[in-house]
């Protein structure tokens, strides 16, 4: 084995001292040069925000809209340095969130809570995202809540109206952005009582949000003196609502309320029309507010009522700009799921900007719980951290819509409450 020994050569002028100096300079230079991209990258390192959304499966239609809301928010933050209506916040102006471009990492939970749990674990532990946004639906939100609590990452949830997720659970890291389920179908029981209706049937999909909404409806019906003649859940995997509506018909109810999501709203309306059932009020949870409902049913949708967390003509700061931006980005008029997605991301944006950091989760969390603000979506204020229902939405409101015909076109008129109404509630259901 031969050993190699360094022999200085006078021909090159390279002495031991020169060699050490030269290599030392090169080494230091290389080290600095090597760090320049790192330092640069740290300044511009994307802020990775993770979420699972129902992009396929039963909730895909609504989930897709929520996803659009998230994407539009990220686009605005990256381009403008703030979302619409949030230009005056501290640390706004520089593109991105606190100078870091927002990168959304959205996975598809297939409308399945179990998959949602797996995906949030993946986002937190494998992909190690910087921040989180909530999934779509109460069912998935409820399932992933313990994962987020364990990870201790502040998370706003845009579309989880079930109050059971927050009530009495003292959640420390998650807030509800959507108006709570207890305020579903506003005005329903009052209008029914005013017109002398006595019997109500409540049918609902057997999953988290409809169960919770039905619970609140049941309480309000009893409070207002309506007799509940049928109160039943039906399974999630249902393709024909005729037998259930037949049961409602047999019960003698003059008010039919409930449902679940968009497929339920369409299915129940189809079955009601098919059986020739003529209640005085047909009022459904998610669905009536969405354009798909009217497009699919045509005139069969007329005079059906349902609630909405948001309408495109609201005047919350930035809302009209948001509507225009949605129109130019995706075409058409946005509905409340996309506005909810945008609004929830705005809560995270505001908390981070006010905190001035993305690393101090406790600081961001504390601000998120203390905020009293308005997004393009709705008002925002949640039960404080030290309360049993911490994170439960307190300020956001809903309106009641009714499918009405104007100039030969079907549209959603706001019929309740009176201060927000732009049309009279057509009674009875026709």
């Amino acid at each position: 084995m031969c050993s190699r020994k360094y022999v200085p050569s006078n021909d090159t002028g390279l002495t031991r001292r020169n060699f050490i100096k030269t290599t030392g300079v090169v080494a230091i230079g290389t080290a600095i040069a090597g760090h320049i991209p790192t330092i640069f990258a740290q300044q511009k390192k994307p802020l990775r925000i993770g979420a699972s959304i129902s992009l396929t499966g039963k909730y895909a239609r609504s989930g897709e809209e929520q996803h659009k809301g998230y994407m539009l928010w990220a686009k605005h933050v990256n381009e403008l340095g703030h979302s619409y209506g949030k230009a005056d916040l501290p640390n706004s102006g520089e593109p991105g969130l606190l100078g870091r471009p927002v990168e959304l990492i959205v996975l598809d939970d297939r409308s399945d809570p179990t998959t949602g749990v797996r995906l949030y674990n993946e986002l937190i532990h494998s992909r190690q995202v910087d921040l989180l946004l909530g999934p779509y639906s109460s069912a998935v939100t409820n399932a992933v809540a313990p994962i987020i609590e364990n990870a201790q990452i502040p998370t706003p949830n845009p579309m989880a109206s079930s109050t059971a997720i927050w009530e009495g659970r003292n959640l420390q890291w998650q807030v509800q952005v959507q108006p709570p389920g207890s305020r579903r179908l506003p005005g329903l029981t009052q209008v029914a009582m005013e017109h002398g209706d006595e019997k109500i049937a409540i049918i609902y999909e057997d999953s988290e949000f409809p169960r919770n909404a039905a619970k609140a409806l049941r309480a309000r019906a009893k409070e207002d003196g309506l007799q509940i003649v049928l109160d039943t859940a039906y399974p999630v995997k249902i393709t024909d609502w005729t037998p259930i509506v037949q049961q409602v018909m047999n019960s003698g109810a003059t008010v039919l309320a409930g449902g679940g999501y968009l497929p339920d709203a369409i299915g129940i309306t189809r079955a009601t029309r098919s059986l020739g059932y003529q209640p005085n009020i047909l009022s459904l949870l998610v669905g009536v507010a969405l354009p798909d409902y009217r497009d699919t049913l045509g005139k069969a949708a007329l005079t059906v009522t349902g609630d909405a967390d948001w309408t495109p003509n609201v005047n919350y700061p930035g809302a009209q700009k948001y509507v225009e931006a949605y129109r130019s980005e995706y075409g058409g008029v946005p509905e409340y799921h996309s506005a909810g997605g945008y609004g929830a991301a705005q809560i995270l944006e505001e908390a981070v900007r006010r905190a001035g950091t993305v690393d101090d989760f406790e600081k961001i969390r504390d601000i998120m719980f203390e905020l009293k603000t308005t997004t393009v979506f709705n008002l925002y204020e949640v039960a404080p951290l030290d309360s049993p229902d911490s994170g439960l939405q307190l300020a956001a409101n809903r309106v009641m819509l009714q499918v009405q015909e104007a100039d030969g076109k079907l549209e959603n008129a706001v019929v309740y409450p009176d201060e927000a109404a732009n049309a009279q509630w057509i009674y009875p259901f026709q």
Partner: protein, 288 residues
């Protein structure tokens, strides 16, 4: 029990639509011993053909039914020739994985092409009342069409040469081959017919319910239960089991509860598996 006739009618109408999907699936299994997970997606594609014919061309679904069936027949036959034929005679798991993959490709592509938007055809929505039974015209038309198409399938299988070739292939492929029957052609034909019937079901669903890219999967679970209830490979069994399924749903909801009703067909399935494992009309392997 209130309004038994109405419950009977509701069950029969739904059962008729289930039967269109189920007989095709059963036919395919009978001829090829292939469990086609993508079968429900054929119904979805047929539904979209009918919907776009209605939306773009203003064609009534009753008119677009035949083109939808023809398109899906060609699609199914082509798919069988190109892909499915390769797993015929292979272990069941091979066909299961292949058709599962095909299903994923079809419905994911459909979601990209058609978006997740829920759609439906508002056609003949006015209800009519007869003998105390009220039902929208679209349901009645759907019921009648489903019966006609199933009847036509039975006539085709019983009285025509290609139909007899399909039956012979289903009964014993080797003997059919020895008799000079082109079993490969019979398999392609059967697969195409199965796809066409699923397309017809999809068209009817677009009139009576709503359609979306992953709807096939929702119907597939029911259809499998029906096919197993009726006896794997038995077209007549699938028909009877489909009506039984619809009636159990209808009467079960009224007499027990909407939560319990969906479990009833599975209770029946367990009972059948215990007392008659080959299904209502199926034959055991030993009998073949």
């Amino acid at each position: 029990m209130d309004h038994p006739l109405q419950l009977l009618a509701n069950g029969l109408v739904v059962g008729a639509i289930y039967s269109l999907v189920a007989v095709g699936l059963s036919l395919v299994f009978g001829v090829m011993r292939v469990i086609n997970i993508a079968h429900g997606d054929f119904a979805m594609l047929g539904a979209y053909v009918a919907f776009f014919a209605w939306d773009w061309l203003g064609l009534s679904p009753l008119v677009s039914l035949l083109p939808a069936m023809a398109i899906l027949f060609l699609f199914g036959a082509g798919l069988q020739r190109l892909v499915i034929e390769r797993v015929v005679g292979r272990p069941l798991l091979a066909s299961l994985m292949l058709t599962f993959g095909l299903s994923l490709i079809i419905w994911n592509s459909s979601q990209v092409a058609f978006t997740t938007k829920l759609r439906g055809i508002s056609y003949l929505t006015e209800p009519v009342t007869f003998l105390g039974v009220t039902m929208s015209q679209s349901y009645i038309v759907g019921f009648v069409l489903a019966l006609i198409l199933t009847g036509a399938l039975f006539a085709f299988l019983k009285f025509t040469a290609p139909g007899k070739a399909i039956r012979a292939t289903s009964q014993n492929q080797d003997v059919a081959l020895a008799c000079g029957i082109d079993v490969r052609r019979a398999r392609t034909l059967a697969f195409g017919i199965g796809a066409a019937l699923a397309a017809a079901a999809g068209t009817l669903i677009s009139m009576t319910g709503f359609i979306y890219p992953y709807m096939g999967f929702e119907y597939l679970a029911k259809t499998f239960t029906i096919v197993v209830l009726g006896g794997l490979g038995s077209v007549a069994g699938a028909l009877v089991a489909a009506f039984a399924y619809g009636l159990l749903e209808s009467f079960g909801t009224a007499m027990l509860s909407p939560r319990i009703a969906p479990a009833l067909p599975f209770v029946l399935l367990i009972a059948i598996m215990i007392f008659r494992p080959s299904g209502l009309f199926g034959t055991s392997v030993a009998d073949r």
